[in-house]
Each structure stands twice: as structure tokens, then as C-alpha cells.
């Protein structure tokens, strides 16, 4: 009896010590199968030819970037253990040793050089070239050190070489299977291997037991594209699948009542806004732009269209982004003030304009646009609504043929406001606002490598954008995952469908 008690005490002590020291007890081999239903499947597993965020947020499961994101969205080491800027146009990455591709090839500096050379080679016709176009070349310093040379200083390089656009290829395999082969036979270093894929039907991932972060917990993941929202939800309800994304906001409450299901939401870094063509009167008048911002009850839109699963934004900096300034309060909803501002600007009776929106993109833009047009009517701004199919609207925007107002959303791919703001104020492709002072501020920010020092500099940027109001500031919506209680999964704040931490509950 006494012996038993002391053994028990010892066991507790050992367990406590293990926990305290963070030593993994015994790593269990991957086991079990999880079925997933997604609204879209990847177009390819060739990381340089991915089209659309739906693909980019998924292929990372078989690959790794040089950098990655943690559950808070912070940039962390992945295939690179560390990085530093040697001079304004040279980034040096120290690579992780002992990492192997799925087929056993070693990952090293040659893999990085091969991958980045391939990405910028015009013959690759890389769709993601815009994200890596600052790269001039890559130099192998030694087998585990590479220098990435940029055409101009690019403070974003470590983030660019992350999980969306910096996925690493094996030179031998890529050359062996060719361009058409790599699309369906990827060979990465990532947590899962692609073992089968029938397009529009299903793809099967299997755990990479030799993964450098440790083997994933689930042995097999079957991913089915289920395009129709109702069918996807039905598949979760009937237990055909264990995890679905996305869940339409309108159905969250109903699914939450089902005790065999769990709903997890996380604010996605997708910034909804209405772009205002500041070149065209009356929108060249800042008072008019501020009036538009006061006219929209964004909180009501969040409540009625997103059922509260969205977050009001004061500007175009999302809450998860570096340097988000919580002290900046959004434009209050105040139609009387909006009317007064319009009168001050010389439009006491409002005016007529046009407002573009679209359907068929990654998120619903048509419904919020309809609500916004309704609010604008209340202050006398009659906006004729044009609703396009997204594939028709995209070209219009690029050709600068948009109406003076159009709704849009941009995914903050690098969780870095400067990237978003530069894009939104580029003076073309439908976005015509430019500001020399803003440019100057951003240039100063971009010269600051340390994120901790960079963050506070964004405060003034947000104030300036708010005062100038070149957009109607809206919200960021939550990404919504529905899952069976038999699995454990926490979505990440950067839109990535990172399945490595997925686990079956005992």
C-alpha cells in the first residue's frame, strides 16, 4: 500500500517535471482519418502557378516556406532558422539542417536557389510573380546559407518567402516530373504528402512521419470540394465530413445549437472597403468623402449581414496587422453630420453617382454594397448600383473603368499595413488616391527592419488615412470553420488552412 502510494507520487512528479520542462513524453505516431469539405480546391500544387487565395492557403500543407506564422500571426522561422539584412538589397537566410523532401531529397541552399530562380524565370510564367518580383537573384553562400538579392530594398522579403509565396521545391524532383507533373505530383518538405487527387472529387493527404516539426497527429486527411454552402453544411451535419470551411455567417447560430458540432471563428485579414475615385468631383472634396463615411452604419451591417461575426475597422489596417492602432476611433454613424458636411461642400441636396459591386469572388461583396447604397440614399447620394460577375469586374478595375465608388476587399497577405496601403494608393488599377506625405511615411517604415520599431510608426499613417478618407472604411469579416466535436482544430489568423495541428479527440 505504502509502496504503491510512493510509486504514484513518483509518477506524478515525473509527469509534472516533463510538463514543466516541455519535454515531449512519447510522440504518438499519426493515426486516424479526418474528412474535410472545402468550398474550393487548389488549382495546382505548383506553388508558382497558384491562382487565387483559396489555393495559396491550402498548398502549404505539403510544402514549407523559409518563414511561417504562429497562431498569433507573428513571423517565425521555418525552413530558415534565422535571417538578417546584410545591406539594403541583400537578405541572408540561415537554413535549417537535416530537412528532407518527401522523396528523401535533402533540403539545402541549392533548393532555395532553384526555387527562387524558377519563380522569377519568365518561362515559368509564374502567376505569383508580383509577390516575388523584387528578387534579382539568389546566391548560395554555403550549403545552408543563401543570400537573396533584391532589385531595390524590400523589407518584406522574409514575409514574402513565407507560406503563401515562398514554398520550397526539390530541384531533382521538379526537373524530373516537369511543369505538368509538379502540378499534380508535389514533393515538398511539408507535414503532409499528397497521395491521391481526383479533381472536383477529392484529394488525399497522408502524414509525413519524418516532418521536421514532428509528425502530424492525423494519419490521413481526405479533402472534398463541396461548392454549395447548403451541401457543405449538410455534409457536416450528417457526419460525412468532420471539418468545413467556410460556413456562411447566417448559419452560424443554427450550427452552434447542435451539440455534436463546434464553430470556430477568427478575424480574417481581409479588409473590406469602398474605393472612392478622388479624381472625380465631387469626390475630390475631402468633406464629401468624410460625409460618405459618416453616412454608413457599419455596426448595423456587421450585426445584420454578418450576425456580429465581423469587426468594424477605423481605417484600412486590420486588427491583426502589425501596428494596428486601437486608439483611433472609427467615423461615428451620424447621417445629420454627413448631410451637414455635404452642404458645406456645396451639395445640400446630395448628388447622383454610380457604385460597382460584384458576386462570385472569395467573399460576398454584393450584399454589403446593397446596404451601403441604401445608407447613401438616406443622405441624398443616389448611387446607381452595377453588379458584375467578379470575372468581369476584375478586368474593369485593371483597365480603370470602374464607377466612382466600388466595393472591394484585399487580403493582407503579409499582415503588414504598408503592403496594403501601397497597393490601395498606387494611383492606378482603379485606385487613384495618392499622397506624397503618406508615401514618405511608408518609405520610412519600410526602411525599419525591426517589427517592434516599425509598429508605432503606423499610428500616424492611420490618422492621416482617416483624415483623408479616400475610402469608405468598413470591416474585416471572421473566417468561420465548422467542425465535429471529434476533432480538435484551431484556425489561424492569416486565412491559411494549416492542417498540421489538426487532431482527433480521444
Amino acid at each position: 500500500m505504502r509502496l504503491e502510494r510512493s510509486i504514484r507520487a513518483l509518477a506524478v512528479l515525473v509527469a509534472a517535471a516533463t510538463l514543466a520542462l516541455g519535454v515531449p513524453v512519447v510522440e504518438a505516431a499519426p493515426s486516424g482519418e479526418v474528412k474535410i469539405g472545402l468550398a474550393a480546391e487548389p488549382n495546382t500544387f505548383d506553388p508558382h502557378l497558384t491562382v487565387g487565395r483559396n489555393t495559396q492557403i491550402f498548398v502549404v500543407n505539403v510544402y514549407d516556406g523559409l518563414t511561417a506564422r504562429d497562431t498569433q500571426g507573428h513571423l517565425i522561422p521555418a525552413l530558415a532558422e534565422s535571417w538578417k539584412r546584410l545591406n539594403p538589397t541583400t537578405w541572408q537566410f540561415a537554413l535549417r539542417r537535416g530537412v528532407k523532401f518527401h522523396n528523401g531529397d535533402d533540403f539545402n541552399a541549392d533548393s532555395v536557389k532553384f526555387t527562387l530562380d524558377r519563380a522569377i524565370n519568365p518561362e515559368t510564367k509564374a502567376t505569383i510573380i508580383s509577390e516575388l518580383s523584387t528578387i534579382a537573384g539568389t546566391e548560395v553562400v554555403d550549403p545552408y546559407t543563401v543570400n537573396v538579392i533584391t532589385k531595390s530594398p524590400d523589407f518584406l522579403m522574409p514575409a514574402r518567402l513565407g507560406e503563401l509565396f515562398g514554398l520550397m521545391l526539390s530541384p531533382k524532383h521538379t526537373n524530373a516530373v516537369g511543369k505538368e507533373g509538379i502540378a499534380i505530383k508535389p514533393n515538398g518538405t511539408g507535414p503532409f504528402k499528397l497521395v491521391a487527387w481526383t479533381k472536383n472529387e477529392q484529394l488525399v493527404l497522408e502524414a509525413n512521419e519524418g516532418y521536421w516539426r514532428g509528425a502530424p497527429k492525423v494519419k490521413r486527411i481526405v479533402v472534398r470540394p463541396i461548392l454549395e454552402d447548403a451541401a457543405r453544411i449538410a455534409a457536416l451535419q450528417t457526419g460525412e465530413v468532420d471539418l468545413i470551411a467556410p460556413v456562411p455567417h447566417a448559419r452560424i447560430a443554427e450550427l452552434q445549437r447542435n451539440n455534436r458540432l463546434a464553430i470556430k471563428t477568427i478575424p480574417a485579414p481581409r479588409i473590406f472597403h469602398v474605393t472612392i475615385d478622388v479624381r472625380k468631383p465631387p469626390f475630390d472634396n475631402v468633406k464629401v468623402r468624410q460625409a460618405l463615411n459618416h453616412a454608413i452604419d457599419v455596426n448595423a451591417i456587421v450585426k445584420s449581414l454578418y450576425f456580429g461575426h465581423a469587426t468594424r475597422l477605423a481605417t484600412v489596417v486590420d486588427r491583426g496587422a502589425l501596428g494596428y492602432d486601437a486608439s483611433i476611433a472609427p467615423f461615428p454613424y451620424d447621417p445629420a453630420k454627413a448631410k451637414a458636411l455635404l452642404a458645406e461642400a456645396g451639395f445640400p441636396n446630395g448628388f447622383e453617382t454610380e457604385f460597382d459591386s460584384f458576386t462570385g469572388s472569395i467573399a460576398d461583396h454584393a450584399k454589403p454594397a446593397e446596404a451601403i447604397a441604401g445608407y447613401l440614399r438616406k443622405i441624398g447620394v443616389n448611387a446607381k448600383q452595377n453588379v458584375f460577375e467578379f470575372s468581369a469586374f476584375g478586368p474593369r478595375r485593371v483597365q480603370n473603368k470602374t464607377a466612382p465608388l466600388f466595393i472591394y476587399s484585399i487580403g493582407n497577405a503579409y499582415l503588414e499595413p504598408s503592403w496594403v496601403i501601397r497597393w490601395m494608393t498606387q494611383g492606378g488599377l482603379g485606385m487613384h488616391y495618392k499622397n506624397a506625405r503618406l508615401d514618405e511615411m511608408l518609405t520610412r517604415i519600410e526602411a525599419t527592419d525591426d517589427p517592434k520599431k516599425r509598429a508605432p510608426l503606423y499610428g500616424d499613417v492611420q490618422k492621416l488615412i482617416m483624415d483623408e478618407a479616400p475610402f469608405i472604411f468598413l470591416f474585416q469579416a471572421d473566417a468561420v470553420f465548422g467542425m465535429s466535436t471529434r476533432i480538435d482544430y484551431t484556425p489561424r489568423p492569416d486565412e491559411t488552412q494549416w492542417l498540421y495541428p489538426l487532431a482527433l479527440r480521444p
Partner: protein, 305 residues
């Protein structure tokens, strides 16, 4: 007969080429895929480069000539989205669409013929009224609505059928039913009206007069004659069935040609759209040809040549 088939085949080639040309013009006039393929961060310069890389900046006749030159070799180019040759991509999806549309057609015929005959033979009675009610409902219910209702009832509430996708025989039931319902309604009405017409014919009266049983008169003498227009209509409806398949395949994520094509259209994946139009047009033309030949076989009075 041989000359007839030859002429029909020649016309078929014309039709397929014509459809290809029209679809080529329609897709390309609506703009090129660069803006869809590239991330929003792409600059105007990068978009222009992409266009040049794929030859989308060439004049339309040049692009069409390039398309034709490749198409005669059965090469519709590599899919912009999938990075794979587009014709095999589409061809791989044919069996799924074939399974779905044929099941739908069989389902429609199996229900419509007896229902139509019963309605005709019991004209004005409760059976007729019920059959016509069903037909009216079947023709007015939108198939996408029916599809979602079926998912809710048969999958979520009763747990009888899988919600979507392709797998065992159970998977095909709801999508096939959703496609079949409109055709079923149409065919029921058609069978009913032709049967009523045929039943008034002299030879039917003769049959009855010589003491044949009513079942015999209906099944042996009237029905075969009533089926001739049915064959024509089914042939003509094949195009509509494919159209319905596009919607239904999308709702059920049925991995067929329709779903693949609609995705290609939305993503401006022109090589795939071209290959799909070619295959679907060829399919419709062949089915129509078969129907015309069946017609001759069913009714020897129809002369061809």
C-alpha cells in the same frame, strides 16, 4: 441510307466548327484571363507581361488561327488554371456526366411513359388529374431549389442519401432526380397527348372491334406509335439536360463536365472552355444523329435519301 448518314456527318462537322468559332469569339471578346489569374497585387506592367507570355495580346484572328491549327490535332492547349492539357481533363470527366445524364433520362422515361399512358387511358379521371398535377409541379419547380430541398430531407433529416459528391450508386440518386424532374414532366404530358391522339385512330378502333383486350390495344398498337415523337423530343432535350447538369453538378459537386466547364468559364480558363464546348457540341450532334436514325428504324414509313 449511307448517303444520308454521310451528309449528316458532314453537317455535324460544320456545326461543331461553327460552335467553336462562336464560343471562341464570345470568350475572347469578354476579355482575357490575366486579371483573374494574377493576385490583386499585380501591377499593370506584370499584367501586360503575363498577357504577352500567353499570347493574349495578339490580334483575335491570329489567336483564332493558332487555336484552329492546334485544335485539328486534338490539342486545345494547356489549361491556364490546372497546368494540364485541357482535352484529357475534360475527357476524364465524361463518365461522371454520362452516368448522371443517362440515369436522369432513364428515370424520366420510366416514370413518364406509364404515367402518360395511364393519364391518357383514364382521361379526365382522378389518375389523369394526379398525373397532370405532378407534371405541372415538375415543370414549374426550379431544379436547384429541389436539389437543396432533397439534401435537407433525404440527407440531413432522414440520413438516407449522401449529401454530395460521387461514389456509390446512392450518390447519383438526388442529382439524377433533380435533372430528371423537368424532363419527366415534359415527357408525361407529351406521352399523354400523343396517346390520346393515337387512341382515336382508326386502327385502334379496328383493334377494339375485333375484340382485342384493351391492354393489348394500348400496349401493342397505340403505344409504339405514340413513342415516335417521344424519341425526337428526348433527342432535342439532350442539350437541355446537359444544361441542367451544369447547375446540378455544381450544387452536388458532381465531378462531371458541367461543373468543370462552369468553373473554367468563371475563371476564364479558355483552353478548357474550348475543349468542353468542342466535346459537348460533338456529343449533342451525335445524339441528334442517333435520334434521327432511330426515327427511321422506328417508323419505316419515313424515307431518307
Amino acid at each position: 441510307m449511307r448517303a444520308y448518314v454521310a451528309t449528316r456527318l458532314a453537317t455535324a462537322v460544320f456545326v461543331v466548327v461553327g460552335v467553336s468559332l462562336v464560343s471562341f469569339l464570345l470568350t475572347f471578346l469578354s476579355g482575357d484571363p490575366a486579371e483573374i489569374m494574377l493576385p490583386p497585387g499585380a501591377t499593370a506592367q506584370q499584367i501586360a507581361t503575363f498577357r504577352a507570355q500567353w499570347g493574349f495580346d495578339d490580334p483575335l484572328p491570329v489567336q483564332y488561327w493558332r487555336f484552329l491549327r492546334r485544335a485539328v490535332h486534338g490539342d486545345f492547349g494547356v489549361s491556364l488554371r490546372h497546368g494540364q492539357p485541357s482535352l484529357p481533363l475534360i475527357a476524364a470527366r465524361l463518365p461522371a456526366t454520362f452516368q448522371l445524364t443517362v440515369t436522369a433520362m432513364v428515370l424520366a422515361i420510366v416514370v413518364a411513359v406509364p404515367l402518360g399512358v395511364l393519364a391518357a387511358t383514364h382521361r379526365g379521371g382522378p389518375v389523369d388529374l394526379a398525373a397532370m398535377g405532378v407534371a405541372l409541379l415538375g415543370q414549374s419547380v426550379p431544379n436547384f431549389w429541389l436539389a437543396i430541398m432533397m439534401i435537407l430531407v433525404f440527407s440531413v433529416s432522414w440520413g438516407l442519401l449522401p449529401t454530395s459528391g460521387r461514389g456509390g450508386p446512392l450518390h447519383v440518386v438526388m442529382p439524377a432526380l433533380a435533372i430528371a424532374i423537368n424532363l419527366m414532366a415534359l415527357l408525361t404530358r407529351l406521352v399523354r397527348s400523343t396517346m390520346i391522339e393515337v387512341l382515336a385512330e382508326d386502327y385502334v378502333r379496328t383493334g377494339r372491334a375485333k375484340g382485342l383486350r384493351e391492354v393489348m390495344v394500348t400496349a401493342r398498337h397505340a403505344l409504339p406509335n405514340a413513342l415516335i415523337p417521344l424519341v425526337t423530343v428526348i433527342g432535342l432535350q439532350f442539350g437541355f439536360i446537359l444544361g441542367g447538369a451544369v447547375v446540378i453538378e455544381t450544387i452536388f459537386t458532381w465531378p462531371g463536365v458541367g461543373l468543370f466547364t462552369i468553373q473554367a468559364i468563371l475563371n476564364r480558363d479558355y483552353p478548357v472552355v474550348q475543349a468542353a464546348v468542342f466535346i459537348l457540341a460533338t456529343g449533342v450532334v451525335i445524339i441528334n444523329l442517333i435520334v434521327d436514325l432511330l426515327y427511321v428504324w422506328l417508323d419505316p414509313r419515313i424515307r431518307v435519301g
